[in-house]
């Protein structure tokens, strides 16, 4: 097949899954099985695109041309390729998990749920392969709209309220700021195409650059930069598979992915660094990193804590852009991958705990690890990866961001990353440690007997819910050893290094 047809296929496949789900509202097994096969096919298609891309073929497709520089078009570049790979591979895990969760938890309206899910993946693929800002914007909005029913899925007052906040902030910021920024960019540059090194004249005034960057940064509400972060905890009313894929991977990653795209292909990192336009963003990202972590510490609801942790982690990526160095954006790109695997593991574990015990508060989860060891070990691995400890993937993205901070001489940013790691330990590890080493909630303070074989009292969630987080946890370990390949793959996006490396 033509490379460009395969590219289109990556969008057509999830769209087909969407149609399939709509057409089979009552035939659960057909729908879920069919979608599973499509998800597998999608991964195959994306990997095919990767092979074509690696062989040096330039893969492009222009769907509609409105006028010069204004079109709906798709193309493949390393960042989008990585994002598409992450989203499509994790879709498989989440789909399996979603089936187990929805059935195990006796949720209603499966067809609508999986249809919206598939549509969200369709939108995500569109975002990943968008060739210009307009396409990106359109699919960005489609993603918001398609996930709204998912957030409101439970249809109770809480869910509706959360979904309203979700839609309000995401739509509001994207229309007020992002659309303005897109229109403005077109007015100035005469094009919206993503271009290596940016589309703006480097001699533009730094103040203007900073203002435009602000419109983008706040307009991309999905990146959950403070103060436009409230939608993320609000969306935690959704069923956990939604939180897992969408709020750990697709939606939030679409946000930071857009941020990276804008930083690399609209502004250009050397423009950003030479004008200093992104310096304020760096400070705001640093603030977000720390503030969200501190708020996370105070949350007793597990999913809310994870949501605030996500806000903090997303700002790592924003920080990577704002540092405006090659290491920074590559580190940010890598962090999209590592955080995706870590956070989806955590969310799926949270869901597994909910399915098995109907507990949502951390204070009720003491001692649970002894009856749910697989879930809690996976949770521990995810936590360590998020903190950035070896041998888990998260350590490399933290390392690259540290080096990027060292490149720009930002010792304070190094301090921020260090403190953030400590805060992560303080709010993630207790869940794991208390799960194994504390007496179960409500049983007094007797010490736990260590030598009772755990097999006798295993009470895990259904297999379909437990296996996916275990697989993604293994993914966190595997990625530790293959991070080098991802970095190699991503390095072309920063072919115009802004700071000369001293040794090369």
């Amino acid at each position: 097949m033509e490379p460009s047809s395969i590219l289109l296929l990556t969008m057509a496949l999830p769209f087909a899954a969407f149609l399939l789900c709509l057409l089979t509202p009552n035939r659960d097994n057909l729908r879920d099985g069919g979608t599973f096969i499509i998800a597998l096919l999608l991964l195959v298609a994306v990997v095919n695109v990767l092979f074509d891309f690696n062989s040096g073929t330039s893969i492009e497709y222009e769907a509609i041309v409105f006028q010069k520089g204004l079109s709906i078009a798709f193309s493949v570049e390393p960042l989008g390729m990585v994002f598409a790979l992450v989203a499509s591979s994790l879709w498989i895990a989440t789909h399996v998990y979603g089936i187990g969760y929805m059935r195990g938890n006796k949720e209603k309206k499966h067809a609508r749920f999986f249809a919206c899910f598939a549509f969200a993946i369709f939108a995500t693929m569109g975002i990943a392969f968008s060739a210009n800002l307009l396409t990106l914007f359109l699919f960005y909005e489609l993603l918001t709209i398609s996930t709204y029913p998912l957030v409101a899925h439970k249809e109770n007052d809480d869910a509706k309220k959360g979904a309203r906040t979700y839609l309000g902030i995401l739509m509001g910021t994207s229309i007020v700021f992002l659309l303005t920024a897109v229109v403005w960019s077109y007015a100035i540059a005469g094009t919206l195409d993503f271009k290596q090194g940016g589309i703006f004249d480097p001699t533009l005034s730094p103040v203007f650059m900073a203002v435009l960057l602000a419109l983008f940064a706040f307009g991309i509400g999905k990146a959950a930069l403070m103060p436009f972060h409230r939608w993320l905890p609000a969306a935690m009313v959704a069923p956990t598979p939604v939180s897992a894929l969408l709020h750990a991977v697709a939606v939030v990653k679409a946000g930071v992915f857009s941020m990276l795209k804008v930083g690399v292909y609209v502004f250009g990192i050397d423009n950003l660094s030479s004008t200093g336009a992104s310096e304020w963003l760096m400070w705001l990202a640093a603030f977000s990193i720390l503030a969200a972590s501190i708020i996370a510490m105070a949350q007793d609801n597990l999913k809310r804590r994870l949501a605030y942790s996500t806000i903090s982690q997303l700002s790592y990526i924003t920080l990577g852009v704002a540092l405006a160095t090659s290491m920074g954006v590559i580190g940010g790109g890598l962090h999209i991958v590592t955080h995706a695997f870590g956070k989806i593991t955590l969310f799926m574990c949270a869901g597994a705990i909910y399915v098995a015990t109907h507990k949502t508060n951390i204070s009720e989860m003491r001692g649970l690890g002894r009856t749910m060891p697989f879930t809690f070990i996976a949770f521990g691995i995810g936590s360590l990866s998020i903190i950035g400890l070896p041998p888990f993937a998260g350590s490399w993205s933290k390392w690259m961001l540290l080096v990027a901070s060292a490149d720009t001489g930002q010792v304070i940013m190094i301090g921020v990353l260090m403190v953030s790691s400590m805060l992560n330990v303080a709010y993630l590890i207790p869940i794991f440690a208390r799960g194994f080493f504390s007496p179960a909630t409500g049983t007094g303070s007797q010490a736990v007997n260590a030598v009772v074989p755990w097999r006798e009292k295993l009470a895990e969630a259904p297999l379909l819910v437990v296996v996916p987080p275990c697989l993604t946890a293994i993914g966190c370990i595997v990625l530790f050893f293959y991070a080098d390949n991802i970095v190699d793959f991503l390095s072309p996006i920063a072919t115009v290094p802004s700071v000369e490396t001293t040794n090369g």
């Binding site: 007020v176 403005w184 400890l389 350590s395 190094i414 303080a426 260590a450 030598v451 001293t502």
Partner: protein, 567 residues
């Protein structure tokens, strides 16, 4: 022949395979096999750099065997074997896995040739070791473990940050001697200092080790801090200001050790004090001093493990390690007592015991370079060590007043481990040349000169006489059920109290503000209501009006944006 065998990986593979083997004798044998297999590549490989891999365009060396790393990885392997024999009876899978992963990480770190590899294993020791504390499975050990973990991970994060800065300053990731001209090296030094329990950074040690399980404490005592000593010796040998730091480390813990009740905590204070000797040796930095540091680390790991083993055996049999609860145990645990005394004699540096032949090197090196005050402090600390570790530990556990406890002798595996360790302590003391021959530099040092032996005996005997005199006059502080404040007081009491106060203050102010705002809002509402009336037309029209207004503003803005021509 064994080029494909990386010692640290042997441990990790062992740790991974463990859970698959039935939990019994078979698994216990497998565990013991790990350190034996793990030492093979150390003994058979020539010095050099192996297992290199590429990461982000840099070459990493995960197996650098030279004289310094050989001594440390060898003693780590030995310590792993001995403490695993001691832990033969443990059937807790988690502790078994953690012990192997921890020992493996320490060996991996000692063999690391670059900062990235070092970081990986450095954090590995932190993560693996905390499970030995949590394994106690009580509320207290959970909290202690969290405190320990945060501080240990902080050390690793500081190391990573230091590595990043150093990398950008020098373009090199090699783990070699650092110059303190750059910021990065200071971060790295701080990281090492945390793990080495520098003064004011030390308290995680005393806080956490006594909170581990019986066997966990023995395993913990060997690795983390000596890894830091190794790292300092490699990176910062000859850094002058390490001398006063080390001297302070030898000094202040002995005061705490005298009044501490928990004997395992007494041992952590004396552990801290012994680290001080090594840090002084690193600071002096001469060949003799570095040799002394390496030799002292070697013998220290053994006798400290032996002391922890014997106190652990007492705890294992009686349920307590507190001086106030113990006494008179020599009657029923005679062998444990004998091994404890051998450990005590070694740490006190009695001639013919291991401490003597290593500590005297450091003292001589300090004296040779003319560090008079430091030398006096070290001498004082040596006497003090005898006082609190050499006499206090065996005395309060096995003699003193009879507690009435009649515990059985320690289990055979513990006796075996203690016996082997005790043998090594004596063997090193009697035949120091075997240890001297593997030290980083050629040794031209004879510890058994008449001056050394006689002066050391004078020092020790008069320390003992001081102890006896003070006991007989009742001046010696009795063992009391109590704890002592240390620097952990700041982060366990003061900082939480401050945070609590700030939170209370802020929330009080906040609620006042909110109430005030609510009052004024309702006041405004009332005013408006009185103007427009409850069902006023204006109120109903307003939303639409606002919407139109906003739309107009938005459109205007869009228009403006399109028209703006920028320079």
């Amino acid at each position: 022949m064994f080029e494909w065998l990386h010692p640290a990986l042997v441990y990790l593979v062992g740790a991974l395979l463990l859970p698959l083997v039935p939990n019994g004798k078979a698994r216990a044998f497998l565990i013991l096999l790990v350190p034996i297999v793990g030492v093979i590549p150390l003994l058979t490989m020539p010095f050099g750099e192996f297992f290199q891999l590429n990461l982000f365009g840099e070459t990493l060396t995960t197996f650098r065997l030279d004289k310094l790393s050989f001594v440390f990885s060898l003693i780590f392997s030995l310590a792993a074997l001995l403490s695993l024999i001691y832990a033969w009876h443990v059937r807790d899978t988690m502790q078994q896995v953690a012990a192997l992963a921890y020992a493996g990480s320490a060996i991996g770190a000692a063999l690391a040739g670059d900062l990235i590899t070092l970081f990986v294993w450095w954090e590995g020791t932190a993560i693996a070791s905390v499970f030995l504390i949590w394994a106690r499975r009580t509320e207290g050990s959970y909290h202690t473990g969290m405190r320990y973990l945060i501080i240990q991970i902080a050390s690793g994060v500081v190391l990573l940050a230091g590595a990043a800065i150093h990398y950008r300053e020098t373009g090199s990731l090699a783990f070699e001697a650092f110059s303190l001209d750059g910021v990065g090296a200071w971060f790295i030094l701080l990281s090492f200092g945390i793990k080495c329990a520098f003064p004011l950074l030390h308290n995680w040690l005393q806080d956490s080790y006594p909170a581990a399980t019986v066997t966990g404490t023995v395993i913990l005592s060997a690795f983390t801090t000596k890894l830091a000593v190794y790292a300092l010796a490699r990176g910062f040998a000859g850094t002058d200001f390490l001398i006063p730091i080390g001297a302070t480390m030898t000094l202040f813990p002995i005061f705490f050790a005298v009044i501490e009740n928990d004997l395992r905590r007494v041992l952590t204070y004396s552990l801290n004090n012994q680290l001080g000797f090594m840090v002084v040796g690193i600071g002096v930095g001469s060949e003799l001093a570095i040799n002394g540091t390496a030799a002292h680390a070697f013998s220290h790991i053994l006798y400290k493990a032996l002391l922890f083993m014997s106190v652990g055996a007492v705890l294992h049999r009686t349920g307590t390690a507190k001086g106030s609860e113990l006494g008179g145990l020599y009657k029923t645990m005679p062998w444990t007592m004998v091994f404890c005394v051998i450990g005590a004699a070694s740490i006190s540096a009695f001639p013919l015991f291991s401490g003597f032949i290593s500590k005297s090197m450091i003292l001589s090196a300090a004296a040779k370079d003319g560090h008079y005050i430091t030398w006096l402090i070290l001498l004082f600390a040596s006497a003090g060590v005898f006082h609190h570790s050499g006499i206090k530990i065996p005395y309060f556990a096995f003699f003193a007043h009879d507690s009435g406890k009649r515990p059985a002798e320690a289990p055979w595996n513990m006796l075996l481990a203690m016996g082997l360790t005790a043998f090594l302590c004596i063997a090193i003391g009697v035949w120091p040349n075997a240890l001297y021959s593997i030290l980083p530099y050629d040794v031209k040092y004879n510890p058994y000169t008449s001056t050394h032996v006689i002066t050391q005996f004078q020092l020790l005997f008069f320390s003992a006489i001081a102890f006896g005199t003070l006991m007989r006059t009742g001046i010696y502080p009795p063992e009391l059920k109590s704890i002592n404040l240390d620097t952990d007081w700041t982060y366990r009491k003061i900082i939480p109290a401050v945070i609590k106060f700030v939170v209370m203050f802020v929330s009080a102010v906040w609620s006042e503000l909110v109430r005030g705002a609510a009052n004024s809002v309702s006041a405004i509402q009332n005013t408006l209501a009185s103007f427009y009336g409850p069902e006023g037309r204006v109120a109903r029209v307003q939303p639409t009006g606002y919407m139109v207004l906003w739309l107009a503003i938005l459109l205007g803005a869009a228009l403006l944006v399109n028209l703006v021509e920028l320079p």
